[in-house]
């Protein structure tokens, strides 16, 4: 346990500078806008008084460092700022939006793993026909643009077969069944491409493990082929698969930005896109910060999971 504890602490320590770098990047968004960001935000009709007020509110007339520090201070107290259009506090807005994005990406990730990993094992242990079929799935899954796949799924399931609603969202608390029904198409859209990556990774990782000498010893012990594949090969392939899952979390969060817009899901990604279109920079900052934080936290969790799966990783550096 102390092994995992020290590994966790070391990994947490690395996360601090990453979070700081990310916060600087997000902080700079509004400051890097060419010209006068306040005038850009408010548009041509803004009076000089409006501009001065917003400039003061955003603290843009102070030094960069003092701006950053007070912004970071607010952030650490859970204050993400104010929406310049609706004047609503952004922390509340994000709190409403975050569950949608988490549900979409979480379900997509689980679906992709549930499709990709077993198919990968099948591909690694199956014959040439299985290999060809799964390879075809990989090439298609990687090549189909996800949002176009989403459009085609809508055409199929709500245009032709009238089985599922084409878009829209219902809160889970209000109607769980309807919520999940409306999540099917967006989740499937995001999951197919990801599943292709998991298939490819699982296939090569499991294939490599099955060539290891310890598999011969397992056979000599009379262990069943099923157990060799699922108990040993998959377990050994675990770190490689989890590494790719960690990388794909970023891809999935990026994909969610488009898919939320496509299916009219009120998530953080759609908020950012609307924010950009309306030049509502505080909203963009809060949204980017939220998605980036999910990304960093999930990457951290994946690394800890790898350390737990592969004792050699978490041992490195302690002894």
């Amino acid at each position: 346990m102390s092994r995992m504890l020290s590994f966790t602490l070391r990994r947490l320590l690395i996360t601090i500078p990453v979070m700081l770098a990310m916060s600087v990047l997000v902080f700079m968004i509004i400051r890097l806008v060419p010209g006068d960001p306040v005038r850009t935000m408010l548009g041509f009709r803004a009076t000089d008084a409006n501009v001065a007020e917003l400039r003061d509110q955003l603290g843009l007339d102070r030094s960069l460092l003092s701006q950053y520090l007070s912004w970071l201070g607010n952030l650490l107290q859970g204050d993400l700022g104010t929406d310049i259009i609706s004047k609503a506090p952004l922390t509340e807005l994000l709190a409403q939006r975050l569950p949608v994005t988490l549900e979409l990406t979480g379900l997509s990730m689980l679906t992709a793993i549930a499709i990709g990993v077993p198919l990968g094992v099948w591909s690694a242990t199956g014959g040439p026909l299985v290999r060809r079929l799964t390879e075809g799935f990989v090439i298609l899954g990687i090549s189909i643009p996800d949002f176009w796949l989403g459009i085609m799924l809508v055409l199929l399931f709500s245009g032709i077969f009238l089985l599922l609603p084409p878009s829209g969202w219902v809160p889970f608390a209000e109607d769980p069944v309807e919520n999940l029904r409306r999540m099917i198409l967006p989740v499937l859209t995001l999951a197919v491409g990801e599943a292709a990556y998991f298939l490819r990774t699982t296939r090569s990782a499991v294939g490599t493990v099955l060539e290891q000498p310890f598999v011969t010893f397992l056979r000599a012990k009379g262990v069943s082929p099923r157990r060799i594949v699922y108990g040993h090969a998959l377990r050994n392939a675990g770190p490689s698969i989890v590494t790719v899952i960690g990388i794909q979390v970023g891809v999935l969060l990026g994909g969610a930005i488009i898919i939320e817009t496509l299916f009219a899901l009120p998530g953080v990604g759609r908020l950012v896109v609307t924010g950009i279109t309306q030049r509502n920079y505080p909203v963009v900052q809060a949204g980017v910060l939220t998605i980036a934080t999910i990304f960093i936290v999930v990457s951290l969790l994946m690394d800890l999971l790898i350390g737990w799966l592969d004792p050699r990783v978490s041992d490195a550096g302690t002894s």
Binding site: F217, A220, V223
Partner: protein, 290 residues
């Protein structure tokens, strides 16, 4: 008494290639340590894999291999699997590579038990801890959870032996079990195999290219060359009165006889059919008298 392992006219061929093992017959009695020596490529490991049913799919096996009177040649893979780890077991040269790096050593021993016996997890664990103690792992209960890379090479080979012998198989095939270890550890592992054989009456087929290992523990020895078994003799006879010219050449190239740790040299001379025939005649004569 009938032999535990009875191989008769066994032959192995890989794909369309030449025979890797030709017409090999040998019998190993209960509790005996039988050494099989030869250079690499002589077919000694192929025989081991043939007995275990671990030959690759491209291999063709003919002849007869009986374990305690039961024919193994022609058995299905699932029938062979039931016997592997239960009636017969095998350990390999590189113990580090034989263990799953992500599993605890204790679970890898318990796994052999649970693959063949309907015992509870706790029961298998208790037996595994007892086995770890028996092969000489100190503080076995505490080290049950440790993964292989936390053990030294010699300790890992002890764990591999415990995992192989967990169900007290009648036959243990040890394929170069000490080659990867340094000399003092080698001796300890050989002593362990010898002790377990005496405690449980296990029959051991010991495959090695090291005459020192043969001299240390084997009761009888078979010498292999290019897929053929040239001669079988007691260890003492082999060192003092080798019948086959190849064996003599081997011993000559290895003057101290049973020098511990010495490796078989590659004998450059090609053995003609006549010399093989003569040697085989000598072997048969010895077998008839023995």
């Amino acid at each position: 008494m009938s032999p535990v392992l009875d191989i008769a006219q066994a032959g192995v061929r890989f794909g369309t290639g030449p025979a890797a093992v030709k017409d090999v017959s040998l019998r190993v009695a209960q509790g005996e340590i039988f050494g099989l020596v030869g250079e690499s490529g002589s077919g000694k490991s192929t025989i081991a894999n043939a007995v275990m049913g671990l030959l690759p799919a491209t291999a063709r096996l003919d002849g007869s291999i009986r374990l305690n009177g039961e024919e193994l040649v022609g058995l299905s893979e699932s029938a062979l699997r039931v016997r592997r780890g239960d009636e017969m077991a095998m350990i390999f040269q590189d113990a580090s590579a034989s263990l799953d790096p992500t599993w605890s050593v204790g679970d890898q021993i318990a796994e052999t038990i649970r693959a063949h016996r309907p015992v509870s997890r706790a029961e298998a664990r208790a037996r595994a801890i007892a086995l770890m103690g028996e092969v000489g792992i100190a503080d076995a209960a505490r080290r049950y959870r440790d993964v292989p890379h936390r053990f030294s090479g010699g300790m890992r080979q002890r764990i591999v032996i415990a995992a192989a012998l967990a169900n007290h198989p009648k036959l243990l095939i040890a394929d170069e079990p000490t080659t990867a270890l340094d000399v003092t550890i080698q001796a300890q592992i050989l002593e362990l195999i010898d002790r377990l054989r005496r405690d449980h009456g296990t029959t051991v087929l010991l495959i090695t290219h090291d005459l020192g290992v043969v001299g240390q523990v084997c009761d009888r020895v078979g010498v292999m060359y290019r897929g053929e078994l040239l001669e079988v003799a007691t260890t003492e006879d082999l060192f003092t009165r080798p019948a086959h010219p190849y064996t003599r050449a081997l011993l000559a190239a290895n003057p101290a006889g049973a020098v511990r740790g010495s490796r078989l040299p590659v004998i450059p001379q090609e053995w003609s059919t006549e010399s093989l025939d003569a040697a085989n005649a000598a072997r048969d004569r010895r077998a008839a008298h023995g």
